[in-house]
Amino acid sequence: MDPVLFIAGLILSSIVATIIAIFYSLVLPGIERKLQARVQQRIGPPVLTPGWWAVLKFWYKGKAEPIAQMPLFYKSLIWLGIAVVLLLFLFSTPYWWVVLGWGSVLGIAGFLKLEEVLYVLMGSQSQSILTTPMPMNDLVKGAKVKGVLREFVEQHSAERALKMMAVGSLPLYIALLVPFVAARSGMISDVIRAQNPVYFNSSWLSLPLPSNPVILTVPGFLAAVVYFVGYLMLLNEKPFSILKAKVDVIEGGVLEYASKLRAGYYLMRNLLLFALSSIFVTLFIGIPFDPFMPLCFILNMILSLILPIAMAILVAFSPILTFRQIYPATVGLSALGVLALILSVSL
């Protein structure tokens, strides 16, 4: 293909995919919260409020300067986060499959890790007035314990984010490998070719359905379950929301984001909610998000409701696990993921 034409197609497809992703991802939290409420026999908020109206409301508010060690850096983390999540999503769209090998397992895993690092950086930066050095131990005479570091609560959240990053999200990365192992390649295009060969020679108005989606195989289904729990961990949703548990770390590293920055944080979080489930549909069901094939990306969007709905139901029931429960859960899930990996070699 002519390079100029390709670059034009790449830019156009990225713009179209970005606009659709942003609009759609701001509806997902409403669906999620409405489902959570119904499981708890409550009415719940209007569907557009947690996503759309919340972002617009915060965007409309006046400027609020966060208190952080390096405020400019702390503020830039939000915009960096949005860029990382957007690129993560774009890598799974067809035009990007051939760009520098980013449309591969490394591209996705790399950008997911980068997104996780942001929470560590946010936590170590934020110094909210709410948690002005919360003494780890009381400073009253006679109660003082020597040599104990007094830290902001957000730094405590950063330590938890580091643990979650190092251990917690391991299952998702193992599960992410399974479709690639089944396709014997690290590229997303080969994963689609293995599951949905019709896609590559269908017209723009057709709806190429996968002939053998990996989710319908035993290893694929096991990996899908592990991916789902890893999805919860990466989104820091209950029961794995220890790094922003209201009880002790209030909101974690994002506590100091207000007005436009909080709108950006909501956008980032909701985009990740959509990106991870769209990547799930692309890799495990074989229907890519192709901005130039309307029926294809609409089906991808509909199927990417599976994970948020399952998450909403689970979140409605679950408490917040501490690391004493998260570590065994991670080990067990990783073992299940490795089993799926081994079985997928035989596919």
């Binding site: 119904r38 708890q40 026999q41 409550r42 009415i43």
Partner: protein, 87 residues
């Protein structure tokens, strides 16, 4: 049973704390004001109309919000009733 504390002279809405599909309350929401100079602890979530009566028995100002009422007006009304200076 989880509890909720309303600070002195403060007003809250019960939205989100009512299990609507179990309680089947006659109103869409309730605005609750604490007229006292001390905090008051109330039961949450609210599962039935008895939960609302319990708030009234505690001496709190309970103002029902019907489907097409304006919540901001109700909040102002309850703030006036309890003589609250907060905005």
């Amino acid at each position: 049973m989880p509890k909720l504390v309303i600070r002195p002279k403060h007003v809250i809405t019960l939205g989100g704390y009512v299990v609507e599909y179990r309680a089947n309350l006659p109103y869409r929401d309730y605005v609750v004001g604490n007229p006292f100079d001390e905090p008051v602890k109330i039961e949450a979530p609210i599962y039935s109309i008895e939960g609302i009566k319990a708030l009234q028995d505690l001496g709190l100002v309970v103002e029902p919000v019907a489907k097409y009422d304006r919540l901001t007006e109700k909040l102002k009304k309850v703030k006036a009733l309890i003589g609250s200076e907060t905005q």
